[in-house]
C-alpha cells in the first residue's frame, strides 16, 4: 500500500477544529425540522427558533461515538465492503439530471440510463459498488422514482447500493426494501446494507428533506454520508481555510445529530467543497481549489476517527475531451492518494455534476483501475526484488524468456482496458480518440453483461412492495 500524503499539518488540522467549534458555539446552525430540534433540546442545547447553538463538549463527545470503520453488506457477500481504514470504495456519479452523448448533445436521463449505469458498474472490475442515483430517471413519476431505482440496483447487480435521501418516507421505503432483500429489519440493523447521501444546505443549514432521511436511517442502523459542498465565494467565503472550517462545522453538526439519534450510527465524513467561478457564479469542481479540499477532508475525518468521502472523477467539461481527462485525474488521484475511503462520483460525471456520460464512465473506470494499481505501490518480497533472475540474466541479455517474467508481470503490471498503446500504423487505421473508443466499449460491455440471479421469492416480494407504491 502506497503512503498517503497530507496537505495540512497536524497544527493546521487543530486550527480548523478550533475555528469550527467557534462557528458552532457562537454562530450556530439552522435545522429546519422539528424532530431534529427536539433531539437537540433533549440534549440540553440552546435552541432558538430553528437555530441550534452547540457546545464543544457536546460535539466532541458525540463524534467520538461514531465507528472508525464499518462493513457494508451486499447481497453477494463477496462484494461486502469495509468503509474506513486504508480501504477505498469507488462508485458511479450521483444525481445528474442529464446525459451528454458521444457527440456532445444533451438529453434528459431516463430509467433505461439508470439500469445501464448499474449494469456497467456491476460489470466493472474497478468500481466496488453501484452507487445511488446514478441517473435521475425523469420518465418515472417522482412518487415512485426511488423504489424503481432501488429495485434496479438490486436486480441488475449484487454489489452494495445506496438508499434514497429524499425525505423520511422515502428513506423508510428504502429500509423496507432492504429488509425484504436481507431478511428483516433486525438483520440489517446488525449488518448495515444501505448508505445514503445526506447534504447540508450551505451555509450552516440542514433542510427537512435531508434531516428526515438521516434520522430514519440512523434509527434503522444504516450508514449515512454526511456531506457539505461549500461553493467558496458564493455559499462560503472566498477563503479556502475559512471554507474548510465552514464545511467542517456542517459535517460535525450532522454527525452529532446522527449519533444523538442512535449512538454508533455508521457515518462517513463527506465533502466536495469547491468554488464558484467568479465570472459565471457556476460551481467549478475540475479545479485545483477543489482538489486542495480533498486531503483536508481525509485528514479531518482521521482526526475525528471516522471514514471520509470526497473527490471523484470531477470536472467541468461537457464532453469526453482532454479537459475531462486531466481535471478528473487530478481530483480522483487526490482522493486516492490522500486516504479518502468512499469516492462517490468516481465514474461518469461531466459539467460539475450536471451530466452523466457513458463515454466518461468508461474513461473514469479506466482511471480508477490505473489508480487502484498505482496505490498498490511496490512489492518487497523475494519475487518483487527479483535478485535471482537479475543474476541469471546478468549483463546484456533480456528478461522476456524468463519464467519469472511470465509469472510476475500479471501481478506487477496492469493491462489497459481503454487506453490505446498501439503503434502509429495500427492506430491510424481508424484514428479513434478516447471518446470514440469509450463509445464502442460501453455498448460492448452492456451487450455482454448478465445480471446475477436474484432469488425468485425475494424478487416477487420486492415487486409486490413496489406495486403497492404505484
Amino acid at each position: 500500500m502506497l503512503l498517503k500524503y497530507d496537505v495540512l499539518t497536524q497544527e493546521q488540522v487543530k486550527l480548523i477544529h478550533d475555528e469550527t467549534m467557534k462557528i458552532l458555539e457562537e454562530i450556530g446552525m439552522d435545522f429546519e425540522y422539528e424532530p431534529a430540534l427536539e433531539v437537540f433540546r433533549a440534549e440540553g442545547l440552546k435552541v432558538e427558533g430553528n437555530r441550534v447553538h452547540f457546545t464543544r463538549e457536546f460535539i466532541e463527545a458525540k463524534v467520538k461515538l461514531a465507528p472508525s470503520q464499518f462493513t457494508l453488506h451486499a447481497r453477494n457477500p463477496e462484494h461486502n465492503l469495509v468503509c474506513g481504514g486504508d480501504n477505498i470504495i469507488y462508485m458511479p456519479g450521483y444525481g445528474a439530471p442529464f446525459i451528454h452523448d458521444v457527440n456532445g448533445n444533451r438529453r434528459k436521463t431516463t430509467m433505461q440510463d439508470y439500469d445501464n449505469f448499474v449494469k456497467l458498474a456491476g460489470a466493472s472490475k474497478n468500481l466496488h459498488m453501484t452507487g445511488g442515483t446514478v441517473a435521475e430517471p425523469q420518465d418515472i413519476p417522482d412518487e415512485i422514482r426511488h423504489v424503481k431505482m432501488l429495485y434496479s440496483s438490486i436486480k441488475n447487480s449484487d454489489k452494495c447500493f445506496m438508499g434514497s435521501a429524499e425525505g423520511r418516507e422515502r428513506a423508510e421505503d428504502s429500509i423496507e426494501i432492504a429488509s425484504i432483500l436481507f431478511g428483516g429489519k433486525d438483520v440489517i440493523k446488525e449488518k448495515p446494507v444501505l448508505v445514503s447521501l445526506i447534504n447540508s444546505l450551505t451555509p450552516l443549514k440542514y433542510d427537512e428533506r435531508m434531516l428526515g432521511a438521516m434520522m430514519a436511517y440512523a434509527k434503522a442502523g444504516q450508514a449515512v454520508v454526511i456531506a457539505s459542498l461549500v461553493m467558496a465565494g458564493s455559499t462560503g467565503p472566498a477563503a479556502l481555510a475559512g471554507t474548510l472550517a465552514l464545511q467542517n462545522a456542517e459535517v460535525l453538526a450532522g454527525i452529532a445529530l446522527a449519533q444523538s439519534v442512535n449512538p454508533g450510527t455508521p457515518v462517513v465524513y463527506g465533502s466536495t467543497s469547491a468554488l464558484s467561478d467568479m465570472h459565471s457564479g457556476g460551481l467549478s469542481i475540475g479545479s485545483p481549489e477543489c482538489a486542495l479540499f480533498i486531503s483536508p477532508s481525509a485528514q479531518l475525518a482521521r482526526f475525528y476517527g471516522v471514514p471520509s468521502r470526497s473527490g471523484g472523477g470531477l470536472n467541468d467539461s461537457k464532453i469526453v475531451d482532454a479537459q475531462a481527462g486531466y481535471e478528473s485525474m487530478m481530483t480522483l488521484m487526490a482522493a486516492s492518494g490522500t486516504g479518502i475511503n468512499f469516492v462517490l462520483h468516481t465514474a461518469g460525471i461531466l459539467q460539475y455534476f450536471m451530466a452523466m456520460s457513458y463515454e466518461k464512465f468508461m474513461m473514469d473506470d479506466e482511471m480508477a483501475g490505473m489508480l487502484l494499481h498505482y496505490m498498490k505501490g511496490f512489492t518487497f518480497d523475494e519475487e518483487g526484488m527479483a535478485y535471482d533472475v537479475i543474476a541469471k540474466v546478468g549483463p546484456g541479455g533480456h528478461y522476456l524468456t524468463q519464467k519469472h517474467t511470465r509469472k510476475n508481470h500479471k501481478r506487477e503490471f496492469r493491462t489497459v482496458q481503454l487506453s490505446d498503446r498501439s503503434a502509429f500504423e495500427s492506430w491510424s487505421k481508424e484514428k479513434l480518440d478516447t471518446n470514440q473508443r469509450a463509445n464502442r466499449k460501453w455498448q460492448d460491455v452492456l451487450a455482454n453483461y448478465v445480471p446475477p440471479a436474484l432469488d425468485e421469492t425475494i424478487n416477487q416480494k420486492l415487486l409486490d412492495y413496489i406495486a403497492k407504491k404505484a
Binding site: 439530471p97 444533451r106 434528459k108 444546505l201 433542510d207 465565494g233 455559499t235 467568479m278 459565471s280 457564479g281
Partner: protein, 215 residues
C-alpha cells in the same frame, strides 16, 4: 449638485451601500430632484458596471454588490419620487423573480436578479419557496413584464409548470412573459410546459429578455 450625483454614481460602482445611503439622504434633505439623482447618479453607476461586466473586466461580486447598492439608493429615493408625484422614468422592464414552491436554493436566482438590475431592469425578488399565486399577485401589483421562476431540483421543477398553468387558469397567460431556469431545466422543458423563455445562465437570461420584450 452634480458632485452629489457623481458621488452616487461612484458609490454604486464601488458597491458601497453606506455611501449610497448617505448621499441619497443628502439628496432628500437638500431638496434636490430625486429623479435626476436616480437617472444621473445611480443608473449611470450601474451602467458602468454593466459595461465592465460585458467586457469581462468586472467579476460577479462587483456586479452583485453594485446591484445591492443601487437597491439601497432606490429604496430611499423612490418613496420621495412618489411623494412628489414625479415619474422615475422608464426602466427597460420589470421582472418578478423567485424560487418555486418546495425549493429553497437561491444562488442562481440571486445572480440573475443582480444581472437584470445591472442591465437596467427593475427587479422584484420574492425569495425562495414561492407559490404560483404569489408570483402572479406580485406581478400584477407591480405591472411586471416578466415572471422568472427558478428550480434546482428535478422534483421541484413542476412548480414552474404550475406557474404557467395558474396563469392559464386565471386568463392571465398573455399578461406576462414567463422565464424558467435552474440546474435541471432545459429549453425542451420550457417548451413542454409552455414557458416563454429559458436560459442556462444569468447573462443569457438578460439577453433573452431584451429580445423577447423588443418583439
Amino acid at each position: 449638485m452634480s458632485e452629489l450625483f457623481a458621488e452616487l454614481k461612484q458609490a454604486v460602482i464601488d458597491g458601497d451601500e453606506d455611501i449610497v445611503s448617505e448621499s441619497s439622504q443628502k439628496v432628500i434633505d437638500q431638496g434636490i430632484n430625486p429623479v435626476d439623482a436616480v437617472q444621473l447618479g445611480l443608473i449611470k453607476g450601474i451602467e458602468v458596471i454593466g459595461e465592465a461586466w460585458k467586457a469581462g473586466e468586472a467579476f460577479l461580486p462587483d456586479v452583485m454588490m453594485s446591484a445591492e447598492a443601487m437597491k439601497v439608493g432606490l429604496g430611499l429615493l423612490e418613496p420621495e419620487i412618489a411623494k412628489l408625484g414625479m415619474s422615475e422614468g422608464e426602466s427597460k422592464g420589470k421582472i418578478v423573480l423567485g424560487t418555486v414552491e418546495g425549493d429553497i436554493h437561491d444562488i442562481g436566482k440571486n445572480i440573475t436578479g443582480a444581472m437584470f438590475t445591472a442591465a437596467g431592469y427593475k427587479v422584484f425578488d420574492l425569495g425562495t419557496n414561492i407559490k404560483a399565486e404569489d408570483f402572479v399577485s406580485k406581478a400584477q401589483e407591480v405591472g411586471a413584464d416578466i415572471i422568472g421562476a427558478s428550480a434546482l431540483l428535478t422534483t421541484t421543477m413542476v412548480g414552474q409548470k404550475q406557474l404557467v398553468d395558474y396563469l392559464k387558469e386565471h386568463n392571465l397567460r398573455d399578461k406576462f412573459k414567463v422565464f424558467v431556469g435552474g440546474g435541471p431545466t432545459s429549453q425542451l422543458w420550457a417548451e413542454e410546459i409552455g414557458a416563454d423563455g429559458w436560459a442556462e445562465t444569468a447573462d443569457e437570461a438578460v439577453e433573452l429578455a431584451g429580445r423577447i420584450l423588443a418583439r
